[in-house]
Amino acid sequence: MAKGRVSIVVERCKACGFCVEFCPTHVLSLSSAFNSKGYHPPHVVHPEKCSGCDLCGMYCPDFAIYGTKVAEVKSTDAAKEAKAAGGEK
Amino acid sequence: MKADPHGVLTGTHFLDGDHACCEGALAAGARFAAGYPITPSTEVVERFAARVPMVGGSFIQMEDELAASITLQGAVWGGAKAFTVTSGPGFSLMMEHIGYAAMTETPCVFVDVQRGGPSTGLPTLPAQADMMQARWGSHGDYEIIALCPNSPQECFDLTIKAFNLSEEFRVPVMFMMDEVVGHMTEKVVIPPADQIDIVPRKHTHKSVEEYLPYGTNGDMVPEMAHAGEGYKFHITGLTHDERGYPNMTPQTQDKLVKRLQNKIRTAADRICLLEEDGLENADVVVVSYGITSRVAQRAIDVAHERGLKVGKLRLITAWPFPDKKIGELAARVKAFVVPELNLGQMVREVERASGGKAKTLAVPHAGGGVHNPEEILRAIVEASRC
């Protein structure tokens, strides 16, 4: 079970390659897809290796990617469920 | 709004123009000045440096005029009324930032105690040769307001007016003194604070969500906010839209620059302060400003003694130029006589505005002293024969 998850804002990416290079566990690689500007954004190739350290987010000069710890995601899911159940306004 | 009594040195004083200007600034609510020493203006900030620690506020002598002219603008955005003081060479250095103030609509006052130029020129002697520079010195299309006092009393009164106009129109105001007015000592009456009207900053009352730094509701002057109030606004010298964001297109440029121009031009009648005397039946009108107006008065008096019908028009406001007034006069007088301590600057405006309907006689002076009234009288006599 991965400790973290990567979120990618495809349209902001300029394919500089920093995230791919500096991810400590090599979660990412540049995809063959294009965004509307013609850049190849990264995609997750080893999701199970993501620790949610957010180094990708720290490096990204275009604010196009970030990592979050799964525990955070879980609590957001929990919050969502609580909302749906009417636990919160 | 009335003046803050802490800054008002009520009483009857014997002050020179530089000192009176400082008192005017304090009375107007200026609590920040950034300066750089330059003759003959230095006394203004020297006095401010001495006074402000006991009034509240601060003065900083910056490392050059480039710094001083922008430091004061930082202080304005930090919430203060601010000004700087200089003479020709410093005024030249400040030009970029006068343009920045015009572009960002930063209310502030630039005092130029004019001296002989060009370049280092005559540091301790008068001229009035920065008048065109005051209007056109920075690059691009922009408008400013310029006032010309002709006595230490006016250095007090009109400095307050300068600050008031700067706040009303969110524009840099040029306070065009000259070395004689700056260094002559005369009686200056400073009234009680509750008799001094000041214009407060046009601060927005809008919420953070609604506020647009350069949004105007029909009125051409946007509301202002200061740093630290939660508005998180952006200010730039780049051509910008109502959000303050850079928007470098011809359409945005057209809209912005025309508004910067029109906010002054459409209010020119309100802004133009003129002193008029004997214009009703005049054949000749002497148009003058600053110290020259006092010399011209002597010439006008002698002309009157000789039976000549001479009127006086003193430009208290030099910019925006009173096109309308000159145009009206040109239709019915024979000639204008324009003495200036320069080789012909405001006279060009008189010529332009008169549209050829009346003659314009310049009475130039290269600077370094004031006219001999004889020179002006000779021109008046010649004009009367037109």
Partner: protein, 292 residues
Amino acid sequence: MLNVVDDTINPVEPFLRTDRMPHIWCPGCGIGTTVNSFARALIDSKIDLQSLALVSGIGCTGRVAGYVKLDSFHTTHGRAIPFATGLKLANPKLNVVVYSGDGDLSAIGGNHLIHAARRNIDLKVICVNNLIYAMTGGQTAPTTPGHATTSTNPYGTFEPAFNLPHLVEAAGAVYVARWTTFHVRQLARSISEAFQKKGFSFIEVISPCPTLYQRRNKMGDGLDTMKYYKEKSKVKNGAPTSEVGLTLNGEIAVGKFVDRDRPDYQSMMRAQYVESLGDRYVEEPEMECVCG
């Protein structure tokens, strides 16, 4: 636009004017990376964003002011520091950051840089140093290393470059650090440390300009440059600043070089006035904001 599966957000997002994204910086430019570190430092230091003002000059780095959601001022070339000085003096409660480039701060702005350091004005200066005048097309900067090719030195530069940490230390800065855009976490930490200090803090960040500096000097792209930073940087905390000059492809000394204490400008001003004027000294004007 956001293809995220949950409602987590990028920690930098609240600090951005998202209505102005994507920004104009080139692929592989490091300026955006420095903004991440800056945002991280703001979060970690728990800075009150309302009382934070950011002032920049002209150039690629100068565009930071337009992209951050703070009271921000994009001023004239070289004059961010004096503008920031005015802001700070008029409202001492503001935390004022100057975020500008090497050309803006050390060439046209050089005079203001040394005077503000001398006076120890309480400013946090982040100098993104890409060793070139990038925005205008790649001209020589006072920081361009010798023998580099630029558009105004097409046959190679021959002037010695400024050693910025040395310059600002000599002028009087109380906090001097240098990192590269590879050192994202250390940079964030330095910025946080600077926020804790009163006085003139200067943090230099070496950053790629792949479009101009790196391309003209055949040094690869942004990623190649980041790898070079990783390989050739050496952390030398406390090193004498005289020894941290940069060369064309040489070692990059990084770290915190200076961290000392000296009273800041406003403390000294206050002390002097209190000593000279005693009770007559009025620190704050009665009408702080002459507002209607």
